[in-house]
Amino acid sequence: MAVDAHALNGAIAVTRFGLGARPGEIEEAARDPHGWLKAQIVSAGADQPAAYPLPAPPPPAKLLIPIASTPAAGPMMGGAPPMGPPIPAPPPFQPVLLSFVPGEPLPTMQAAYRTFSLYQDQTKLAKGDNEARKAAAAPIYQAANEEILARARLAATTPAGFRERWALFWSNHFTVAAKDTPVTVAVGPFEREAIRPHVFGRFEDMLVAASRHPGMLLYLDQVQSIGPGSPTGIKRAGKVGLNENLGREIMELHTVGADAGYTQADVTEFARALTGWTMGGANTPPEQQGAFLYRANVHEPGPRTVMGRLYGEGGDDQARAVLRDLAASPHTADHLARKIATHFVADDPPPALVARLRAAYLKSRGDLSQVAVALISAPEAWAPAPRKFKTPYEYLISSYRAADTAPRDPGKDIINPLSSLGMKPFAAPQPNGWSEMGADWAAPDAVVKRLTWAQGFAAANTPQTPPPDEARSVLGARLTDKTFTTISRAETRPEAFAILLMSPEFQRR
């Protein structure tokens, strides 16, 4: 049976470029698949997730006692009175839960920092009391859960699936992961402040915003890097120094790529140029706390040479100038073109597609809206056979879209299943982010985990539509006869829905 090209392209637009079909979406896209996608490119960038507030957890009893008074031993502790002068009573612990108001924007990095700074003060007071430390960290993990839920709900419900996928791609490109408690509060604000506004703007702007955001500065240790020849570096010689982590990863992962021919000397020089880029901490005025801060007294003085270019002493602007040149480099165009093509089209993407994206990047001077248009316009991107295997996040989100519902509980609905599939949200194990390769997500164990999850999900969320109609609505012209038949033969409606979610065409895009 010949497939109507328009119908097939509608299904491809929604599943390969977007995040999977909600009911009726494929029909809508099929009227004009290219136009449907291009209309999602807007200069304002990606949408911002809105809060879906969780019921505040009851504060653990531990929080109700002043943590630092442990040695003073209330009747509960039963200890001896403290030796020496009395310890001044610390303020009672007041967990500051960030406010998540329905429909309001989520808290900024600076607001998030306040929660972290309180956590720090309280853990200091808690000393070895593990229960008290855990209680102090609770608001931070609560905030991360809110972020994870808000973001997944946006993906599950947005009518602009391509726009959201494009944002998720860039967020993974500039990975910031919760490797420790301070970074945990920053992951959500980082994506919302440094990535989403810039996804259809100039790459250089996103690069600068990402490289200067406290989330990235914390994640790749830049906040601690101090030029050995700077005033602070000289004063504290032997105790402080350079940290080249951010400089290296910007070059290798974010811009020119590892094969661009730079050397260790280039990395070190760039790291020197980056010194001074840091975050306002506890000893700065409140308006600077948790915000980007250039500290001249830790900046390594002098000119720098990076990849053959000389950068005169320029303080804060020196690293910016390096970023400008890195963003404009043809190596960066190559690296990004290949990565976009790999994400959207195939693990081993057609060279012609990579060339088109590269050319669009260079011609538009890194205008990402033009690169997105080039991707949509490329015939290679519309090949009928799906060549991408969905990542666990894509799989989970597209399942919610297929069921026309959205997650409600960050633990049960998102974090637990994704952790068991090896993709715990906000926790990519390394700065290169989550893999774009199908083979990484289709290990035997992972396929079994998908199956058990799909069955549980179907049992709770099966739509009331007759299964064959549901299958057509979710996969459109991509639905194969074989899958259609298997679904029609299922014993129960949830079983039919589970088979749909596990079908080869649903797991691919």
Partner: protein
């Protein structure tokens, strides 16, 4: 003055019963492996991701430059678990130390991949593909081992974890398992329908078939109870039980991450110490789970590269070159440090910053494959590690 490298050399040569005049820290013997029964042998390969700081694993406390270079992140001499007059283990590696005392663990302190790369991702690729150069191979060397080990009678491998690592990727289907699966009668019915649906799917068909089999087995090994993800040791025990089950796989692979300690690395306690504690728990779990078959087991732990010799400005270390490879298991031949010690002297550091490698990591892997699994020497050079003649197998690692 006795140069540390000479001490190492003499000790090793003595351990191997070879002449001290060979001029090499490791003895390279030619010839085919003895005809032996390898069918009971088990190999566990652990990839420590993020660049494990070898100088904190096999701590060269006897090297005069160690303390000045490491300063606040140096492990105090009185806390080190001593191996000899130069090296000791990190205090968190208690199980490994007990094994070493029993002649069942060894360390190679200055090992590197064949190319000098400071990118985690490229270096992990090279470590796992076993190529002589970047991009020389796209499949994992353990996958190629599956076919090379017994031509005509391929052995099997199991990957422990939610993701399949590159080291096992390739044409031979590997099994994989991680805690948390739950098979019910309903699953079985849907699974049967899916097996039909996947009949012509080259990715999903074999994956589901293998996955279901392994999951069944895991439940049996745990007395029908699914295993949670939190307990590292229990996890390693179960992993080991897969290997010892009747007709179980020969090889298991797992990854440990979190070794990228650019800042606040810590010393006896801290970030790196926590990761090493987990690693030690994994070794303990493997030993416990292998039980009687521990005597047939070799465990190899390798990382993509080491870290800078000198502590950096932020209490951590940056990407370096040589690091430590750990060998453990009842199948090991007792012995001292593996390979030469280049020392941490300023003029010996690679590019004035890193511990210099004296041994190619492929030489260690090859030594284990020949002596432990009986992999044919010719296949080793052509199929498993092509273009690796410059890195002949390290002999004498396995009893």
């Amino acid at each position: 003055m006795t140069h540390p490298s000479l001490t190492r050399r003499a000790a090793l040569a003595a351990a191997l019963g070879a002449g001290a005049s060979s001029g090499l820290g490791v003895t390279f013997l030619g010839g085919a492996a003895m005809a032996a029964d390898y069918s009971r042998k088990k190999l566990v390969v652990i990839v420590a991701r993020g660049a494990m700081d070898g100088l904190s694993v096999a701590v060269p406390f006897g090297d005069p430059d160690y303390l000045p270079l490491r300063q606040a992140i140096a492990i105090p001499t009185d806390q080190i678990l001593p191996l000899d007059s130069t090296f000791g283990l990190h205090p968190k590696l208690k199980t490994l130390y007990a094994l070493q005392q029993a002649g069942q663990a060894r360390v190679a302190p200055a090992v590197a991949i064949p190319e000098r790369i400071r990118s985690h991702f490229e270096a992990q690729d090279l470590l796992e593909t076993g190529g002589a150069k970047m991009y020389a191979a796209s499949t994992g060397w353990l996958n190629r081992t599956l076919q090379a080990a017994h031509p005509g009678r391929p052995i099997r491998a199991l990957s422990i974890g939610a993701q399949e690592p590159l080291i096992l990727r390739g044409p031979a289907q590997a099994e994989s398992w991680s805690p948390g699966g739950r098979i019910t009668p309903n699953t079985n019915r849907v699974a049967a329908a899916l097996m039909d649906l996947y009949a012509e799917d080259p990715l999903l068909g074999p994956a589901l078939a293998t996955g279901l089999k392994v999951e069944d087995q895991a439940n049996m090994l745990n007395g029908g109870k699914p295993l949670g993800g939190g307990d590292v040791k229990a996890f390693a025990v179960t992993a080991a039980k897969f290997l010892t089950a009747p007709d179980g796989p020969t090889i298991a692979v797992l990854s440990l991450d979190g070794f990228d300690t650019h800042a606040n690395q810590g010393a006896v306690q801290g970030q790196l110490a926590n990761r090493l504690g987990i690693m030690d728990d994994v070794i303990a779990g493997l030993q416990q789970g292998m039980a009687a078959q521990w005597k047939d087991t070799a465990v190899v732990i390798a990382t993509e590269f080491g870290r800078t010799a000198k502590v950096n400005g932020t209490g951590g270390t940056d990407h370096g070159t040589a690091s430590t490879v750990i060998l453990a298991g009842g199948a090991l031949r007792p012995g001292g440090i593996v390979g030469d010690w280049p020392t941490l002297a300023a003029d010996k550091l690679f590019e004035d910053r890193d511990l210099a490698p004296t041994l190619d990591v492929r030489a260690v892997f090859k030594g284990v494959l020949v002596e432990h699994l009986g992999v044919d020497g010719r296949l080793l050079e052509t199929v498993v590690f092509p273009n690796s003649r410059g890195a002949p197998p390290v002999r004498g690692l396995i009893a």
